[in-house]
Amino acid sequence: MPQINKTLPPSVTRLIDALSQLPGIGPKSASRLAYYLLRAPAEESVGLADALRDLKARTRFCSICQNITESNPCDVCTDPTRDRGVICVVEEPLDVTAVERSRGFTGLYHVLHGVISPMNGVGPDDLKVRELLGRVAAGPGEGTPVREVILATNPTLEGENTAAYIQRKLAGSGARVTRLARGLPVGGDLEYADEVTLSRALEGRQVM
């Protein structure tokens, strides 16, 4: 616990303590934020408090894709223009935002909320893997079969491992299982690419 001067009123120390629990915020930043809010107009802290309260109260997991949403099913899952036969599997909700930004994907998503990591006590059952297998087995409701599952977990050891696990579980499901390509970033320079990325890019080369 950070050592905060005992002369501070409890309402201030309570906020500082709460803020310093957040990732990337130490006791010093926490006090700076607390004093900022103390001096700022009341609307600012009330607005922040409302936002914090709503965060938990109004959001939930989408019953289809497991993304964070306020309406269930979420806007993506209920969008009639999207291709229900393709599911893109990602680790975190922020990854959905990233793929959406590309505007290159028109299918549905599935958010795992993590990766398999026995070191951190996370197994397949702690993630939304079973829900994914259920979706692929059942089709998305209106009888559209899932044609393709795109595994878009990160290219880390754990991400690769999670993708490999899901791929095993989907073998025989009838759906085509694909993995995101790995290679050079657009606008990148060959000279500055590390050896692993470059050798992966070579492996994944395509006919022009």
Binding site: I116, S117, M119, G123, P124, N161, A164, Y165, R168, E195
Partner: protein, 400 residues
């Protein structure tokens, strides 16, 4: 290669050190606990980004620095003269919030990753405790191989990192298997990550030991006055082509994979061995097959020196290995490594000492520490740069 200048801030007992070093031989003299070994450790750290013998990063930072700053730091810097020109290496270590350590590596003033240090500064370090390499635990010999290979082979660093991470995850999963029923696929996917990396590690170790033994044998023959023939034998924990007995053949080409085995065959055999031990592994909650259980043995005239060698024989074997490592690094990176010898001359008899001094006379740069400069012969001392260390202060002695 030559270290032209060494600059240390808050490293071990050095609050601040700016030291110009000559090429050729330098002798650092001083009483015990004045900072002789720390100097060699600091150079080793610049080459490998870790301390020899598993000293923690936080211990590198000068004791007492934390009283002066809330987040104490250490900076190690060196100006190098390599075959390909002058270079600058810098490593900063700082204690961060939550007792974590931050490390920054800069090569020629540009921030780099740890793996980029491979081949930048190559050193061969010989500490008095290294005699235990022959008779001590297998982990010492694995660490030795890892450290040597990590200085010259980036592919090895990557394979080892991947192997160790997959191994840690797999072990955690096996421990869980003692409490819950795990899905066989969960274990299988970790095998898929661990097996190729493990085979890569084993193949590169086999090659390195083969090269080292070929270079060490003639040195050793020399050091033992033609009486002994040294072989360093790689003993992979997992060897599908292991000979049925423990007799060692002479002139065996042990740089290549076992006859009739390529990387794919070894992977298949590794998987089969894992499958065979699976029940055992689950019961004990850890991985029982793989290069994390490798060993290497020192054999002289058919006798395992680890078990039956005298202390003197063990010392000679390690000396031969270290000298072989110098040529080995030269072969691998195309430049001469810097040789760091800590007090080792004190332990050698006059004949071997002379033989060692002759061998290092032509090195680009050798730094030797001693408590007693009179152990060296006059000729030798005349050619060397002499430095005296006293409580973390290094002064160059006037020549002559």
């Amino acid at each position: 290669m030559i270290i032209r200048h060494l600059s240390l801030t808050n490293v071990r007992l050095y609050a601040r050190l700016e030291l110009d070093l000559p090429g050729g031989l330098s002798i650092i003299q001083g009483d015990n606990a004045q900072g002789k070994t720390s100097l060699l450790e600091a150079i080793y750290y610049l080459a490998t980004s870790h301390s020899p013998h598993g000293t923690l990063d936080r211990q590198i930072i000068r004791w007492g620095a934390e009283e002066e700053a809330p987040y104490p730091y250490a900076i190690l810097k060196s100006d190098l003269q390599r075959r390909d020109g002058p270079h600058m290496l810098e490593i900063g270590i700082q204690r961060a919030e939550g007792n974590r350590m931050r490390k920054e590596i800069r090569i020629d003033h540009i921030n780099k990753r740890g793996i980029d240090l491979v081949g930048q500064l190559a050193v061969v370090l010989f500490l008095p405790g290294d005699v235990d390499l022959v008779s001590g635990a297998p982990a010492l010999r694995r660490d030795y191989l890892d450290d040597a290979l990590s200085q010259v082979d980036a592919g090895y660093v990557r394979a080892l990192e991947q192997y160790n991470r997959a191994l840690t995850q797999r072990n955690a999963l096996l421990r869980q298997a003692q409490e819950r029923r795990i899905d066989p696929d969960e274990l299988e996917v970790w095998n898929d990550q661990m097996v190729p990396a493990g085979v890569e590690v084993a193949l590169r170790r086999r090659e390195a030991v083969g090269q080292l033994t070929r270079l060490a044998a003639p040195v050793h023959r020399d050091l033992s006055n033609n009486r002994e023939y040294l072989q360093i034998v790689y003993q992979p924990n997992f060897d599908p082509a292991a000979p049925p007995s423990t007799t060692y053949q002479l002139e065996l080409d042990n740089t290549r994979p076992p006859t009739g085995m390529d990387s794919a065959d070894l992977q298949t055999a590794f998987r089969a061995a894992l499958a065979e031990r699976q029940r055992d592994e689950m019961a004990r909650g850890m991985t029982l097959v793989g290069p994390h259980r490798d060993d290497m043995r020192f054999i002289a005239n058919g006798i395992d020196l680890g078990e039956y060698g005298s202390r003197g024989q063990q010392r000679t074997a390690v000396l031969a290995l270290k000298l072989a490592e110098v040529s080995w690094m030269r072969d691998r990176i195309g430049d001469e490594p810097v040789l760091l010898l800590d007090e080792v001359l004190a332990e050698l008899d006059p004949g071997r000492r002379q033989s060692l001094l002759m061998r290092i006379a032509n090195s680009h740069q050798t730094i030797v520490t001693t408590t007693d400069i009179n152990r060296f012969d006059q000729d030798f001392v005349r050619k060397a740069g002499i430095f005296t260390v006293n409580s973390g202060i290094v002064t160059k002695n006037a020549q002559g």
